[in-house]
């Protein structure tokens, strides 16, 4: 058992590009679900639209990456409007159904054979990040010796990613302490009450959907940039559910909830993975093969993670950052 290695690898994941992607996605879900009470189960769809816009503008149309980013943001807004117009007047569950379906449709479309020449089918697109890589000021591996260490490009992704996270958190903080944020929170509590006070609930829900979707778009860009590749597999439904897990772990309706949630989630997931794989390996494994084999070890982490989430929901349902007082109210 190499505890030192396990811990540092886990930390590397907890602070790395993947954690950033899920953090940004969860910040978007926090606006949707945590503050407004909108059930968006298709955050992966928003991510895919943005990521693929950026990538395909470069590889398919040979244009600038930054134009791709602009197009991605624009199309994300378009998607939010498209999903919101028919559903936001209806009960909350309709949005959930429509978004989960839309995300899946988007994933199937970009992966389809007939659009192969635009989106690269199941293999996706590569080599679109030259303009981004060109800005990289780091030329040697960076990190803290013996704790975390990233290759130059990865470190550049990490720096840009966490900067985006900080800016996003700042925006969420500024918005949610304002009267505008108060309207969103009120809509989460009781739409009709808000309506009776002369607020256009539909318009506010739409604004929330768009803004949360834009944070999802940032997550989509980072997904594409972190591996310098994009493929439909990166936008499966479980991406959205992992992002929800991150949000609930950190605490919904808390500005820093997604950040803390994401770091802990990826730290735990990696740690469990390493632990079980090491504990089942070797001549005299810690866990005998009669209980668990090496091939089972990689799956068992998800079981444990699910268990951990269940325990969290039972004993600390407000998440790590949540307010216990708020929860007591729900019980009434």
């Amino acid at each position: 058992m190499d505890w030192q290695d396990m811990l540092s690898s886990s930390l590397q994941q907890g602070l790395g590009p993947t954690a950033i992607v899920y953090c940004l996605a969860a910040i978007g879900l926090n606006v949707h679900f945590g503050y407004t009470g909108l059930l968006n189960f298709g955050q992966a769809g928003f991510m895919a639209v943005a990521g693929y816009s950026m990538a395909s503008i470069v590889t398919t149309w040979g244009l600038s990456l930054w134009l791709g980013v602009a197009v991605g943001l624009l199309l994300t807004v378009g998607l939010a409007l498209l999903l919101g117009v028919p559903t936001l007047r209806l009960r909350a569950d309709y949005l959930a159904i429509v978004t989960i379906a839309a995300a899946e449709i988007i994933r199937q479309v970009v992966g389809s054979v007939s659009l192969l020449k635009y989106f690269g089918g199941l293999d996706g697109l590569q080599a679109f990040n030259a303009q981004f890589a060109a800005l990289n000021p780091f030329d040697k591996p960076t990190g803290i010796d013996g704790v975390v260490m990233w290759r130059p490009y990865d470190f550049w992704v990490v720096v840009v990613g966490w900067t985006l996270v900080v800016i996003s958190c700042l925006i969420v903080f500024l918005l949610m302490r304002s009267p505008w944020g108060r309207v969103l929170k009120s809509i989460r509590e009781d739409e009709d009450a808000v309506r009776s006070l002369g607020k256009n609930v539909y318009s506010y829900k739409m604004q929330s959907l768009v803004i949360g979707g834009l944070f999802g778009a940032l997550a989509g860009f980072m997904t594409a940039l972190r591996n310098a590749a994009i493929s439909p597999a990166g936008f499966a439904t479980d991406v959205t559910f992992f992002a929800y897990a991150v949000l609930l772990l950190g605490g919904a309706a808390r500005v820093l909830g997604p950040v803390v949630g994401s770091i802990i989630f990826w730290f735990m997931l990696t740690f469990l993975d390493l632990f079980f794989s090491q504990a089942t390996r070797g001549a005299d494994p810690l866990i005998p093969a009669s209980i668990m084999t090496t091939s089972q070890a990689s799956l068992i982490r998800l079981i444990f993670l699910g268990l951990a989430l269940m325990l969290l929901m039972i004993y600390r349902p407000q998440g790590i950052f949540g307010d216990r007082r708020e929860l007591a109210i729900d019980a009434r």
């Binding site: 304002s178 309207v183 929170k185 009120s186 009709d192 607020k199």
Partner: protein
């Protein structure tokens, strides 16, 4: 009690001078006939032919009704009479199968609820709707209209809305004091008792500075002592030039504060008039207690009813019409 209430009332924008105005507006009702749908000299709400059906049940079927401006009108009727449904229809929370209605001369048909509220017609709910995970103060603040910080573009820049927020907070504090909720201002609204929620909802509606405030059973669950002072508040709203329409089952309250009473039963308006006249009206008593409440049924009557019922249902278990 009401006297000192009036003195401290500075909460409405329409701070009418304390003249005999309220006496005048009530005097205007003198000439109005005591009939369902009677025309009023200065109606703020006029509704015509409002029908709302739920499947086979006609919940509301109002031919014509007018609500006089500047007075307190009570809408009473037995359970299930359609009062709440009528409120919902007027305020845009539900749409009728037929009919048209107007507020201050402006047609409201098809207008969404939030626009109705902005026009100055604000309602509360029978089943209180407080924003549970917001503090009492935040519940109040959200009632204020025309907040610049509620637009997305200005929201992020606090200096743009801080001054307005401060003024709204002061106004909210005044109202909370009147409703004896000032000590609770930092508690979550969800932690309030049932009666306190009623009070909060009413105070919040007043934050909108409405012209017409529609209260659906404001006194349900409020303790008698506070009820007295609330009656004072409602009266002071009238002094401030506001129009009040409220639903209430407590007849003492209705008698005490209302200038005019409209009675609904089975979706229809069956009587109108000043409180005393209405409460002695035979149609109203019948509606509340059932038509046969004081007439002894003779044996023949009973047999006739039974026969009719059996013919209707074709079963032995025919329901008689005993109230």
């Amino acid at each position: 009690m009401p006297a000192d209430m009036i003195k401290s009332s500075d909460m409405t924008a329409v701070s009418a001078p304390r003249t005999d105005k309220s006496v005048d507006v009530r005097a205007a009702l003198k000439g109005v006939e005591h009939q369902p749908g009677a025309p009023k000299p200065d109606p703020i709400v006029v509704a015509d032919g409002i029908v709302r059906r739920f499947g086979g049940l006609t919940a509301v079927d109002v031919e014509h009704v007018e609500i006089q401006r500047g007075v307190i009108t009570a809408l009473i009727g037995p359970n299930g009479a359609g009062k709440t449904t009528f409120f919902n229809l007027l305020t845009g929370f539900d749409s009728p199968d037929a009919g048209a209605w107007s507020f201050s001369g402006k047609g409201l048909k098809g207008m969404p609820a939030y626009k109705v509220a902005r026009l100055g017609m604000v309602r509360t709910f029978q089943l209180t709707k407080v924003l549970a995970r917001l503090t009492v103060m935040e519940n109040m603040r959200i009632g204020a209209t025309g907040q610049s910080g509620e637009s997305l573009w200005q929201a992020m820049f606090a200096p743009l809305w801080r001054g307005q927020e401060k003024r709204n907070t002061e106004r909210a504090m005044d109202l909370l004091r009147r409703f004896k909720l000032d000590t609770k201002k930092d508690d979550f609204a969800g932690s309030l008792s049932g009666g306190q929620r009623k009070l909060l909802e009413m105070a919040r509606a007043l934050m909108v500075e409405p012209e017409l405030v529609m209260l659906d059973e404001p006194m349900a669950g409020v303790n008698p002592a506070l009820k007295q002072s609330l009656l004072g508040h409602v009266k002071s709203l009238r002094e401030d030039g506001m129009t009040v329409l409220f639903v209430e089952h407590d007849m003492d309250m209705v008698r005490d504060i209302s200038d005019w009473v409209i009675v609904m039963a089975q979706g229809k308006i069956i009587a109108e008039g000043p409180p005393d006249a209405v409460m002695s009206d035979q149609r109203v008593i019948d509606a509340y207690l059932g038509a046969h409440h004081d007439a002894e049924l003779s044996t023949e009557d009973e047999e006739a009813i039974l026969a009719a019922a059996e013919a209707e249902t074709g079963a032995t278990e025919g329901k008689s019409s005993h109230g």
